[in-house]
Amino acid sequence: MSELVVDDLVAGYGDARVLHGVRFTVKQGEVCAILGPNGAGKTTLLRALSGMVRTRGTVTLGGTELSGRSPDTIARLGVAHVPEGRGTFMPLTVEDNLRLGAFVRRGRAEVDSDLDRIYTYFPVLKTRLKQAAGSLSGGEQQMLAIGRALMLRPRLLLLDEPSLGLAPLVTRELFRIVQAINAEEQTTVVVVEQNAHLALGIAQQAHVLETGRIVLSGTAEEIRADEQVAQSYLGYRV
């Protein structure tokens, strides 16, 4: 079981607090969408979950405490974070980038077969294996970043605005793949997204974050039906 439980999470940078007591739960195998305006603290929330910023409060994954641990330890506990900006290892080859995703895993044969699995999700990566990752297009880099995260065989996948800077068609394809991954591997997913339509399309639960607090929670349908959300994030009135 890898249920994610976040309780009274406080985080920030230096003296500046960004999150003020965030609380939510994501059931094993579910997709949870985090919506909210720019600067609400969505990225900071993901960073807090993966240990990139200092936190107070508790975060547990399947009962294991994540809070207070370093990012490399949290990664070893099965959390893969696709960060804002994608975190590509630019000068390294596409293949090296993917292998790095499995850095903490043992068993070369298993890792090799997982590489093949990634290529079935993202065939374009296979044609670019020996190319420097920095030369990929934005969309290809986003695929690479998700592929890299999957190489960990994560129990929890954190995605920070996968649609950023991508053409609508590419974005839809990407979300379709994330949904397939979630269905096939039972990976728990937390996705932060500006494109609320797409995020709500694959999520079971959603939360709206504003200035570091969750102001609205519910099932994807409930959030979609909310007038306020519709105006702010979906661009239409219910």
Partner: protein, 293 residues
């Protein structure tokens, strides 16, 4: 012609030594963005360790691996204890720390071993190979061979081991490296350990040619800076090529450019540093600091 080739060979021999120290500089710069001004002094200190082992009666080929191990551990320790606390500090702070380390190590060596010069044995046999009027001394061939070997081993480490992959990842994107589970702090320490080891090799290669004394590496360091600047501070291959070019350029300038002679030779690396910074700041093999976002 033979005279010219002779100068080139001599230049390559000197260049290989600059290359080895430049390699050490580049190793640290790649991972941390730090220019370690103390690299030469650490190499000098390592050389004293080798000397001390031999003074205690150990043969050279036992003293050498022992020295390399001590240097590796010392490099890691320095990173953990002295560099770690200023990690992420402004560049000037870090420069001052490494300059402080330079002075400290220099003084420590003087205090332990005095400033009197010491003889250091040449590990390579005397004599030379005659080849079409050019004489290749075994000493020069040995130095070139050792540097080629070091380069080859580093290549294997970086390109064909998991640790090497992790090190390249840390150099490319430390935040992302942490997110895939790499222990970045230890990787940086490993980089310092490797650099200190490579530096120790260059110290042991220099000592028989000069004499062993605490200021032995000061001159070499300037050439190594020129080599790393020329090759590109983020390119190990560039460091080696840069070292060889600087060595040859310096030797030829000393021999053929009348007013330079042997006194002004040390001006050559400075001219090279200036020229590169003006014309191609990233060096011959370096990456320019522009990347696709």
């Amino acid at each position: 012609m033979a005279g010219f080739l002779q100068q080139v060979v001599q230049g390559l021999g000197a260049g290989a030594i600059y290359a080895s120290l430049a390699l050490a500089l580049v190793l640290i710069y790649q991972f941390t963005g730090i220019v370690n001004f103390a690299q030469g002094e650490l190499a000098m200190f390592s050389t004293y360790v080798a000397w001390q082992c031999m003074a205690a009666g150990l043969p050279f080929w036992v003293a050498l691996p022992l020295t390399l191990v001590v240097s590796f551990a010392g490099g890691m320790l320095i990173e953990r204890v002295i560099i770690r606390p200023v990690e992420g500090a402004p560049e000037l702070t870090i420069v001052i720390v490494t300059v402080g380390l330079f002075i400290f190590v220099n003084a420590a060596a003087g205090w332990i071993w005095t400033f009197l010069i010491k003889d250091f044995p040449n590990p390579f046999p005397g004599g030379a190979l005659e080849l079409g009027g050019v004489s290749l001394s075994f000493s020069t061939l040995g130095v070139l061979g050792v540097v080629a070997l070091v380069m080859g081993l580093l290549y294997l480490l970086f390109q064909h081991t998991k640790i090497g992959l992790g090190m390249r990842a840390v150099a490319a994107n430390p935040a992302s490296a942490r997110l895939v589970g790499i222990r970045v702090g230890w990787t940086l320490a490993l980089g310092w350990g490797l650099a200190a080891t490579v530096g120790a090799v260059s110290g042991v290669l220099v000592a028989p040619l000069l004499f062993l004394e605490p200021n032995m590496m000061a001159g070499v360091l300037i050439y190594a800076f020129a080599a790393a600047t020329l090759g590109g501070f983020d390119s190990p291959l560039g460091a080696v090529v840069g070292g060889l070019v600087v060595g040859v350029a310096e030797t030829l300038a000393g021999a053929y450019v009348g007013f330079i002679g042997s006194d002004l030779k040390v001006g050559v690396p400075l001219v090279i540093i200036l020229g590169v910074l003006l014309l191609r700041p990233q060096g011959l093999f370096g990456r320019a600091a522009v990347e696709r976002a």
